[in-house]
Every structure is written in structure tokens, then in C-alpha cells.
Symmetry: C2
Subunit: 133 residues, 2 copies
């Protein structure tokens, strides 16, 4: 299983509409990606380790898919529309990170991912225009 | 519910032992935090959005607790020991972010967090020496 983390760095003058992000943007991604998007999570930044708000990132979402290929083939065709929606809730450019899920949930449900580990072939086909911009 | 994200920025000459991180460091955190740590997740960086490896972060973990207070009271007393273990797997200093979990898992299990939203009082008591260093 892989996780695509979309992280919005915080900035003192940043605009970010958390309600829109939760009620419109993520549901848009879900509707476009379909079953390839196993599930997603949303985080709202509270503080860094010294208590400064909202921390390094004002918001993050994590998109869980079975493989990089599944992500690419489901997100890619809708990337332009999805990324075009970003301006509706923020003026921050996100950092995008693709990770292998080593432990999905230590308490049980998929404790250690038994899914296929992404290989070189997956990454070789990972082209820029298919991911979040 | 809150999430403490511990993110290790990538660096070309960085040292990071993913096996130690998974088999020793996170289990150490779990053993020290006890039931206050609802569960954790581990990510291993694969690529950024342009396919460059391993992406902005070489590894991340996310610690899920019911509240900032639960995290502080369970992690704080063991912070020195836990943080002292970091040198055993990496020479990278992590970024720590505390977030409110807005959506824990869109597919069901705790779809929208019904837990109490952290308030000013929680954050006011969030002192630097109680969190990851």
C-alpha cells in the first residue's frame, strides 16, 4: 500500500479554508479517483513541538492506494481539474510526498501492510504530470 | 483525536535505518506511552511529485492520541529516553507537527472524528520539553 501525502506549508499570511477542504476538495478527489482511493485522512495543523501555531503545515491530507500505479491511473486523468480546485481554498502550494506504508495501523486493521512493495517499475512510470501540482 | 507527525527531512547524505525504526524505535514509543497511544503508522519515503527519491521526507511516523494532554502526559516522562534512541537509526533531526484529526479514515472506521476538538487550554499546556526533540 502507498500513501500520497499532500502537505500545505504554513505561512503567516496564508489563506486556507478548512471547511472547503473537508467538504468539497477531498470529496472531489474521492469522486474522481473512485475505488482506487482506498481511503483518505485529513489533518488540520495545531502546533509545532514548541507550541507555535499552526506548526510547519497548516493542513495535510493522505491518500491511500494499493500501488503507485493505481494512484497514477486514477488521479492522472483528473489532475488538472483537481489541482484547479486548490485555488478555491488556499494560496499555498503543497508539498507532495509518496510513501510506502510500512505500518498502516499498529492497533490492528492492516497492522503491517501485506500489500506489494512498490518496485522500480512503479517509480519509473511515475511521471510529473500525473501527480498533484 | 490528535496526530503527532514526526517527519524526517531527506538529505543526500542522510543515514536512516528503516528496520530499526520499525522494529525497535516505534515499539519503544508504544511501550512507554501505553494505552494513551491509540495507534501509530509508519511511512517510508518513495518519491516526490516529480519522481525524485525519496521525496521531501525519508520517513515519517504518526502517533494517534485522544488529546494533546494524553500525548503530553504519556510521552513527556519518557521523552529523554525516546529521543535518545533517535541517534541509533538516523542523524536527521525530525520536524514535529501536532494536528487535529479532521477525518481519520474516510472509508469508515472513525470517518469523521467525534472526539473532542483540542482547545486553547490544551495548547497552553503544551510545553516544549514534553514533546519530541
Amino acid at each position: 500500500m502507498i500513501k500520497v501525502s499532500v502537505m500545505y506549508p504554513s505561512r503567516s499570511d496564508a489563506r486556507f479554508d478548512h471547511d472547503y477542504y473537508r467538504t468539497k476538495h477531498l470529496p472531489l478527489i474521492k469522486s474522481k479517483m473512485g475505488a482506487a482511493l482506498r481511503y483518505y485522512t485529513i489533518d488540520k495543523g495545531l502546533a509545532d513541538r514548541d507550541g507555535r501555531r499552526p506548526g510547519a503545515f497548516v493542513a495535510m491530507c493522505h491518500l491511500l492506494c494499493d500501488s503507485v500505479g493505481e494512484y497514477q491511473s486514477s488521479f492522472g486523468p483528473h489532475a488538472k481539474e483537481i489541482n484547479g480546485d486548490i485555488r478555491n481554498f488556499t494560496d499555498v502550494t503543497p508539498i507532495v510526498q509518496i510513501s510506502e506504508v510500512v505500518v498502516e495501523n499498529s492497533a490492528g486493521r492492516g497492522t503491517e501492510s501485506l500489500h506489494r512493495i512498490p518496485n522500480d517499475r512503479d517509480l519509473a512510470s511515475h511521471t510529473p504530470d500525473q501527480v498533484v501540482r
